[in-house]
């Protein structure tokens, strides 16, 4: 059966057509629709290949006469994009690993271990999810500053540590993994415990291997959030050596406001890592959003 028949099976009189498209008529809707959605991205790529002269022409040049790849090299040399990428990567990696470890330990305890005060503690931690970041950002700035002055400068203002510290563990991560751990059949854990495995052994040998989809989902979400975060880096980082990609990009934009081909080349470069992560891990993003959306 062709897909056209499938989708139109509910409409009366659609089987017996005088003529038939060689493809589903829905493509006639879907192609323009998705085109409109990605036009901003396409236009960014087109501009990144134009000369400055082409960019400053109206009506715009839709197809660059002689695509100027050199814009990318120019952008790369104009701003320390290499440093931005390195900083973003380091921050994202540390935050992801820390979140996976810390949140899985706590999530497991809240899911399966019975201990005094667990319900109260869980509620208190979850309550922080309700608080907008804008409420906490000023005190967190002061706390991070304190860490920099009293513990280590690397944790303080204008250092990557300032970007990591507040995000090492999230209440959302604990909640998310707890929900998943609760779906792991308790019989599996009991069987392992009867066989003499300790609590931690059960977590590492039984529960975590079964929870890879949830861990991957949390990892994917955490990478994206960490990489694309802007407001917090804006507050704590002023030194170009310590800037992450979005912050660096915004400074780059401020410095080259009218050089659109250069800006767009930088923009494309800044987008590539997350687009790759997103396409590769799309399944996990879809699960996380759809899952929290329908259960939460």
């Amino acid at each position: 059966m062709t897909t056209a028949e499938l989708t139109s099976s509910l409409e009366p009189g659609s089987t017996i057509r005088r003529w038939r498209l060689p493809f589903s008529p829905w493509h006639l809707v879907l192609v323009p629709l998705t085109f409109v959605l990605i036009v901003p991205l396409l236009w960014m790529v087109v501009t990144s290949l134009q000369t400055q002269g082409e960019a400053n022409r109206f009506p715009p040049v839709l197809v660059p006469h002689d695509p100027r790849i050199a814009n990318y090299a120019d952008a790369w040399h104009t701003a320390p994009f290499g440093t931005f990428f390195l900083n973003s990567t380091v921050v994202a990696l540390v935050v992801v690993v820390s979140n996976l470890v810390v949140c899985s330990l706590a999530g497991y305890a809240f899911a399966r271990v019975r201990f005094l005060g667990s319900k109260a503690l869980f509620l208190v931690l979850m309550a922080t999810l309700m608080v907008p970041f804008q409420v906490t950002m000023i005190p967190v700035f002061l706390i991070v500053k304190w860490f920099g002055d009293n513990v280590s400068t690397y944790l303080g203002i204008d250092h990557l540590g300032a970007l990591m510290l507040p995000n090492l563990a999230t209440a959302f991560g604990i909640f998310f993994l707890r929900q998943f751990f609760q779906t792991v059949p308790v019989e599996l854990e009991e069987a392992a415990r009867v066989d003499g495995t300790s609590r931690l052994g059960v977590l590492f040998k039984i529960v975590l291997p079964l929870s890879m989809p949830a861990m991957s989902t949390l990892a994917a979400l955490t990478i994206l959030t960490s990489w694309n975060d802007f407001l917090w880096p804006l507050i704590v980082i002023t030194n170009a050596d310590q800037m992450t990609v979005p912050l660096g990009l915004s400074y780059f934009q401020g410095a080259h406001q009218t050089n659109w081909p250069l800006l767009m080349a930088g923009n494309v470069m800044s987008l590539v890592p997350m687009l790759v992560v997103f396409v590769v891990a799309q399944r996990y993003f879809v699960q996380s959003v759809a899952g929290t959306g329908l259960k939460g």
Binding site: M1, E5, S9, E11, P12, G13, S14, T15, I16
Partner: protein, 369 residues
């Protein structure tokens, strides 16, 4: 109410031919059962009739009017889905009224008919509830009510009892029979359960591989199966089918003559129902020698499972399983040697190649011993 007709209906899904040129006429007010294993095309036939799917070729008529090109809403039929498909966000009343409202029935009329139907099905107490607040049996009745309330030309039921537990299923089966007596709408009922098929329908249409195997009353299907598929599908346990031959005017299994059949010599498939078997000694005449496998006492009777070296190949051959229904208290040791004889006129002979009953006139197939 109206008659329903399939004329040469075929449906192909890619490479899979779900229906092969189906011809089927259902009389006005008749209760027809479509039965067969999963994937036999019975649900496809029902969905084509409902207009939820379109045939690759052929014509469907309801009340003599071709409806092949009409949408499901224009055919004036009602359907009860396997999982009931009750609108979860509407009350029972709204579920029943939905179809009437789509047809712009006046409010007073909607109220009257919904209440009438609810009383008929004994769900008038539940009208304000949401589907999730109902038990399985209640949901089933609401689904029936949603179909009935519209007074459709035909009623399509897609395995409507399969989500009920065994006890409730028996009860609802009785309710359905009574309901059809009170409201004799043309009904087409799809099931894979042969008990439902045999007890509910005026006629049964047995399907397999997208083709009709046999259409007839329960008596026809059970006592005069037209091929080995029907014979092996209907009955619990089903008919025993073992390889045999016709030689010298007798039907033989494992060399032993079972019944006379004036017919040319050839290999055949021999069938006999468990309840028509008598277990005796292996030496008795007109009996098939067999080895007992095990016995299953079921209270009212015992099912005796035995192995027959039917194809005569000896120990290295694959023996055929034969099940016999024996009186309670029957017991045999595993490995005991016995002989099966078949009640007079209860031996069925099918062509070994095609599986078709032979010789063709149904009555003559029953052979006098």
């Amino acid at each position: 109410m109206a008659e329903v007709e399939f004329r040469g209906i075929s449906r192909r899904f890619g490479d899979v031919q779900a229906l092969h040129s189906l011809d089927l006429a259902v009389a006005d007010g008749e209760f027809l059962i479509l039965v067969g294993p999963s994937g036999c095309g019975k649900s496809t036939a029902l969905r084509l009739l409902a207009g939820l799917d379109k045939p690759t070729s052929g014509e469907i008529l309801i009340a003599g009017r071709p409806v092949t090109r009409s949408g499901p809403g224009e055919r004036d039929i009602a359907m009860v889905f396997q999982n009931y498909a009750l609108y979860p966000h509407m009350s029972v009343f709204q579920n029943l009224a939905y179809g009437l409202r789509q047809r712009r029935t006046p409010r007073a009329e909607v109220n009257r008919r919904v209440h009438e139907t609810a009383v008929l099905l004994d769900i008038d107490e539940l009208l304000d509830r949401k589907p999730r607040q109902l038990s399985g049996g209640q949901r089933q009745r609401v689904a029936m009510g949603r179909a009935l309330v519209r007074r459709p030309q035909a009623f399509l039921l897609d395995e409507p009892l399969s989500n009920l537990d065994a006890k409730l299923r028996t009860q609802v089966r009785g309710d359905l029979k009574r309901l059809h007596r009170e409201v004799p709408v043309t009904s087409i009922y799809v099931t894979h359960d042969q008990v439902e098929a045999m007890t509910l329908g005026d006629r049964i249409c047995v399907m397999s591989n997208g083709e009709v195997q046999q259409i007839g009353t329960t008596d026809d299907i059970y006592n005069r199966p037209s091929n080995t598929f029907v014979a092996g599908f209907m009955g619990s346990p089903p008919m025993n089918l073992v390889p045999g031959e016709v030689r010298g005017g007798t039907v033989r299994v494992a060399g032993a003559a079972l019944a006379d059949l004036p017919s040319p010599d050839r290999p055949v498939t021999v069938g006999f129902r468990p309840e028509d078997l008598r277990i005796g000694g292996p030496w008795e005449s007109r009996s098939v020698p067999a080895r007992i496998d095990f016995c299953e006492p079921l209270g009212s009777h015992v099912l005796v499972h035995a192995l027959v070296d039917a194809d005569g190949t000896g120990p290295e051959g694959t023996p055929s399983n034969v099940i016999a229904q024996a009186p309670p208290g029957t017991a045999y040791d595993s490995g005991a040697r016995v002989g099966f004889s078949v009640a007079a006129g209860k031996t069925y002979v099918f062509d070994a190649e095609t599986g078709q009953a032979a010789p063709p006139p149904a009555r003559d197939r029953v052979i006098t011993a």
